[in-house]
Amino acid sequence: MPAGDARPVLEVRDLRTVFQTRGGEVHAVNSVSFDVKPGELLGVVGESGSGKSVTMMSLVGLLPMPPAEVRGGEVLLDGEDLLKVSPARLRDVRGGEVGFIFQDPMTSLNPVFTVGFQIIEPIRRHMGLNKRQARERAVELLELVGIPGARGRLSDYPHQFSGGMRQRVMIAIALACDPKVLIADEPTTALDVTIQAQILEIVEDLRARLGMAIVWITHDLGVVAGIADRVMVMYGGQVVEHAPVHPLFNDPRHPYTRALLRTIPTVTGARADKLQVIEGQPPMLGAAPSACPFRDRCPLAFDRCHAENPLREVVAPNHDVACFHPLAHTAKEAVA
């Protein structure tokens, strides 16, 4: 666990991203704030469409603009606001200081270039190495992520690798220039459990050795419980709860987080009759939120939830939640 008082390397304040579509605006990210410190792993969870990927891609301008538009906020990387820098500087940041791993390893590599070419590209671009040095670095990286016979595989094409291997290649690319921040968008979702475990191990190891800050998006709460230091729960384009990993799992405060945790089936104890689901539909994001996004599905919703959008309030050390209900503000022990 990293020192709690280190300065955050990445600090996001009040980020808002809107898509202009034919059917009107989609407010995909609404006033999202978070930070990560060097060596820390921040887990991001939330159901499909809650704005996790869009938030992360907004940080370094990876969204297609138009239709996307970052309406406001600050993205401070070591104090430098990435939303205000020149496109050239942003390109230096991408792949250099901020590494990205994407959701789908099968399509994230270019099918017509060799893996070696694709790893060497960012190395030459950012580290200014010559061809031979860059090749050596590429071999090193592939060995680092556990690809056997790394040197020989540089001249292979992506289709000659399995899904797990491709995701390792993606990780190698993301790590190529020793980034300060690694953003991993569901890096293991498409992989089977053993490969997933191997990749988690690699990342854990790298974090300890290189001291990167990591943002890890996932649907898998088990993974979050295993590797995250802190967890951020997103719903309807907002952060609804944020806490260190233990309080979040032991004492979730937001009704959505509670519901989410209940959806994990257990094998110990009596098996539930059917899988737990969260009833209802995710919210439409047609306008900036003027009420709690979870109100229609919330068992605890009351008048105020329909009239006002709750702000994040600190309820315990390092633990904040965006909910009006008194239950959200009382610790578990007190309720019991």
């Binding site: 370094v60 990876l62 390109r91 230096d92 940041v93 991408r94 792949g95 250099g96 590494g99 990205f100 994407f102 789908d104 399509t107 994230s108 590599l109 270019n110 099918p111 017509v112 270039f113 590209e121 960012p122 671009r125 950012h126 094409y157 289709h159 993606m170 690319i173 993301a174 190529a176």
Partner: protein, 335 residues
């Protein structure tokens, strides 16, 4: 790849023989008589003798066999003789045109340069314009440039060459008098001045043809680019911090070119086929005209030979397109 190519070439032989047979039978069955233009005053016995002299007296399969021998053996020997000054083909009967009793290949060899100059240039011009236009239209989809491109493309698609040809003649040859309206086949390019003339007389037919080919190709290029611009690997390339130029012109373009190159290769036979209508409009004495006049005169050997050459080119360029595909796309393996 090599074994694949050889296998395909071997496989092409029966295909082509079959095509030759089909063309031969179709022409046999088609109504029309090479003696139709002979005056009615000529007695029918004489006409019959003329028919026999043309080789029409023999049964069908013998004539087919003779044609095959002539096409695949005697004509290549003649080419060899012409190249190396040897005499292997002496005294052997070549494929003879019924119109002027001269070997058809001599007529074809005379016409090919005209066609290659005009249609070939149009094809090259079209490729050179269509690819950048397609790339830029896709990259700036729905921009003014793209919209204008779409409009011009629609025009190029929908206006037939017999209209656009006459239109450009009216504008550029009749009104503005910038270019000649008729292509002078006898012009010999032996000086800079003559070269300038050649360029000027090629300009209008090339323009009409290039408009048509560019329209199709630039649309295809645009669609192919759009397909790839939305792919995940493009985002990866951007996330690596690559310049936009590298992202589009290296990562996206390399993928987009795969189907486009194939389509370009498949279109090459049509250059040799000539552009029948455009050649007519501008009086270009090319292959297209040769074919049309041969059909009108019931010159079966000429029609048969030309059609079969097109068939050979089509089969050949299909193979070339496949091989190119395999070379450009590492995921394709032929073995």
């Amino acid at each position: 790849m090599l074994t694949f190519t050889i296998r395909r070439l071997l496989f092409a032989i029966p295909t082509l023989l079959f095509i030759a047979l089909v063309i031969f039978l179709l022409l046999e069955l088609a109504p029309g008589d090479p003696m139709a233009n002979v005056p009615l005053t000529v007695p029918s016995e004489v006409k019959e003798q003329m028919r026999v002299a043309l080789g029409l007296g023999e049964p069908m399969h013998i004539r087919f066999w003779k044609w095959i021998i002539q096409f695949f053996w005697i004509e290549p020997l003649n080419v060899f003789d012409a190249l190396f000054g040897t005499g292997f083909a002496e005294g052997k009967l070549r494929i003879i045109s019924w119109q002027n009793r001269a070997p058809v290949f001599i007529a074809i060899a005379e016409r090919i340069p005209q066609t290659l100059w005009v249609v070939g240039t149009a094809y090259v011009v079209a490729i050179l314009i269509a690819i950048p236009v397609g790339i830029y239209s896709a990259y700036r989809q729905y921009s003014i440039f793209d919209q204008a491109g779409t409009f011009v493309t629609m025009v190029g698609f929908s206006v037939p060459p017999f209209f656009s040809g006459v239109l450009v003649i009216l504008i550029f040859a009749v009104q503005l008098r910038w270019f000649p309206s008729i292509y002078d086949t006898t012009l010999e390019v032996n000086s800079w001045e003559a070269f300038g003339m050649q360029v000027r007389q090629m300009f209008l037919p090339v323009m009409v043809l290039a408009l048509q080919i560019t329209s199709q190709l630039s649309r295809f290029m645009r669609a192919s680019m759009l397909d790839n611009l939305n792919q995940d690997y493009v985002r990866t390339a951007r996330a690596k911090g690559l310049r936009e130029n590298t992202v589009v012109l290296v990562h996206v373009l390399r993928n987009s070119m795969i189907p486009v190159v194939t389509v370009i290769a498949l279109g090459v036979p049509s250059i040799f086929g000539g552009a029948i209508i455009t050649e007519q409009v501008f009086k270009v004495n090319g292959i297209g005209q040769l074919l049309i006049t041969a059909i009108q005169a019931n010159d079966l050997p000429m029609v048969q030979t030309l059609t079969f050459i097109f068939a050979v080119l089509i089969v050949l360029f299909n193979l070339i397109a496949d091989v190119l595909y395999g070379m450009l796309d590492p995921r394709i393996r032929y073995d």
